[in-house]
Amino acid sequence: MGILGLAKLIGDIAPQAIKENEFKNYFGRKVAVDASMSLYQFLIAVRQEGAQLTSADGETTSHLMGFFYRTIRMVENGIKPVYVFDGKPPQMKSGELEKRTERRNEAQKALDIAVEAGNVEEIDKQSRRLVKVSKTHVEEAQKLLKLMGIPFVTAPCEAEAQCAALQKSGKVYAVATEDMDALTFGTKVLLRHLTFSEARKMPIKEFYLEKVLEALEFTMDEFIDMCILLGCDYCDSIKGIGPKRALDLIRQHRSIETIVEKIDSKKYGVPENWPFKEARRLFKEPEITESDQVELNWTGPDEEGLVKFLVEEKGFAEDRIRNGSKKLQKAKQTSTQVRLDTFFTVKSTTQAKRPAETKKEEKGGKKGRGGGSGYRRGK
């Protein structure tokens, strides 16, 4: 599940690297969406009275509902999404995956107990924990996207890594995922909350890798090392080291090798045969399809195909599907609004001074608003 506590750490140490923005301001942007994460998100969140949506014969349709409507919302707002699916998990992740299976077993036990006790709230909570994406879910989602005319890519390995590669090569503007390790893979612009339901009214959070590095005064290598220390999916981290210690240690020693050498091994349990080097390599040279071999084409929806698949096979309401298809078609035809940034170049940026700095500098007529994480634009 990404990097432990990275979002909070960035929020505390480098608030200037995070910007909040409204959904409607992303028109014209191509965005790589981590589809595997979205699948989980939809299966967990898209529910009615605590149960997943199903077709008449009991097959789950929550994921299709999610992909259909949230994609339409993006397209209507002028966003061009490309979904990236996970391939096979890397070898290194087996440990993490085992842990997840274990947690799932625990949830199953808890669910059984809750069912016996008739505790509705607990049943709801535990059944959400039990959600597992199956191959059918993935295939159905891909079939739906194809009918909607939305491109998707299946990564050879981790979806986040593939997203990052697409972003770095300029194929897309940003990566939309909740997993912070997309940053560790080198994504320069990460968007959180993009696939959330509109009803939650969550503003989109943008994370800028370069500003994170600048604020932390880290190189990319040091940042990756810090992420490994914080706790990633690929290996254990040193016991007893939290976000603050991890940050301090990297600031002091600049690499995990030196830390392992210098650290008091009695106080902190460094895992034996710690494969941090392999984890680092996974972040730096992940298995990906080169971007120039990826073709992204946004075509129009196949309305009849959608009706056949969603209405006839899955029992969706026909008028809603036709309506959705019309929206996709309409969005396809409207011209795209260009941004001024494409014509004018930014000459200089003046960052709002943070309260702490304002005291030191006596320049200008500005002063911080005091407290908190300083002012952010775009609220």
Binding site: N21, E22, K24, N25, F27, K30, K80, L296, N297, W298, T299, T334, S335, T336, Q337, V338, R339, L340, D341, T342, F343, F344, T345, V346, K347, S348, T349, T350, Q351, A352, K353, T358, E362, K363, G364, G365, K366, K367, G368, R369, G374, Y375, R376, R377, G378
Partner: protein
């Protein structure tokens, strides 16, 4: 120390009306040559550039450059407290975190002053390249506002087509189509004249919403100037009597036919 006195508070009110719906907050940069403001709206589609020259003020003094970040809603509240023909004085100390507005009624009997807290804003200055525009249209601002208002009812975008004969504004939407043709006037000198300087014919499409917001500045000036070139942002300029101008830049809408 910064101090600027303006004979007509109404000018300030009109300037605020012209920008407050595009921007929620903005930084006014005061130097010894005058007051400038440059800011993009949240979605980075349009840009406002305001310039008030020092010599346009009754008195103007700026010892050190001051950047004043203001919340425009708050500024609006303060400007509600004055009449259009009040004399207004803006004051700020060097490195101050407040700005003071003093309003003096023209009959000298009423003097009010208001302090406003300043804000600390991120600022992005854009370099705007000098452009030789292919087409420059000058027309009465009321006429411009009316065209935009009428056509906004039809569609989300308005197409400007300029030729030697005149400018055609058109819009298409669910209810149908609208076209307004404004021809070049025969007498060029009248203040109601429409004039067109044309290098080459230009056709561009812009979002109605933004044009509507720009048209709110027509209270500032009787004339408006539209400058256009193929595939570059439109410039809409309103001169402010003897003191400066407000300019809007708007990125065009383009057809994307390659599916990307």
């Amino acid at each position: 120390m910064f101090e600027a006195k303006l004979q007509q508070a109404g000018t300030l009110k009109k300037i605020l009306d012209a920008i407050k719906e595009l921007l929620t907050e903005a930084t006014f940069d005061c130097t010894d040559s005058g007051i400038q403001l440059q800011a993009m709206d949240n979605s980075h589609v349009s840009l406002v550039s305001l310039n008030l020259r020092a010599d346009g003020f009754e008195t103007y003094r700026c010892d050190r450059n001051v950047s004043m970040g203001m919340n425009l809603t708050s500024l609006g509240k303060i400007l509600k407290c004055c009449s259009a023909d009040d004399v207004v004085t803006m004051k700020a100390q060097d490195a101050a975190d407040i700005v003071t507005f003093v309003f003096e009624a023209s009959n000298q009997e009423r003097v009010s002053d208001f302090d406003m807290k300043l804000m600390n804003l991120d600022q992005e200055h854009l370099g705007i390249p000098e452009t030789d525009y292919a087409c420059v249209v000058k027309m009465p601002s009321a006429e411009f506002a009316r065209v935009i208002r009428d056509l906004s009812q039809f569609g989300e975008s308005i197409t400007f087509s300029c030729s030697k004969a005149g400018v055609k504004f058109s819009s298409t939407g669910d209810i149908g189509t609208g076209n307004v043709k404004v021809a070049q006037s025969s007498s060029v000198d009248s203040k109601d004249a429409t004039t067109i300087e044309l290098q080459e014919p230009v056709t561009l499409t812009f979002a109605s919403r933004y044009l509507g917001l720009f048209a709110k500045a027509s209270g500032l000036s009787e004339r408006v100037q539209l400058s256009m070139s193929p595939e570059v942002p439109l410039v809409v300029e309103f001169k402010i009597n003897d003191i400066g101008y407000v300019r809007y830049y708007l990125a065009p809408k383009i057809e994307d036919d390659d599916g990307n």
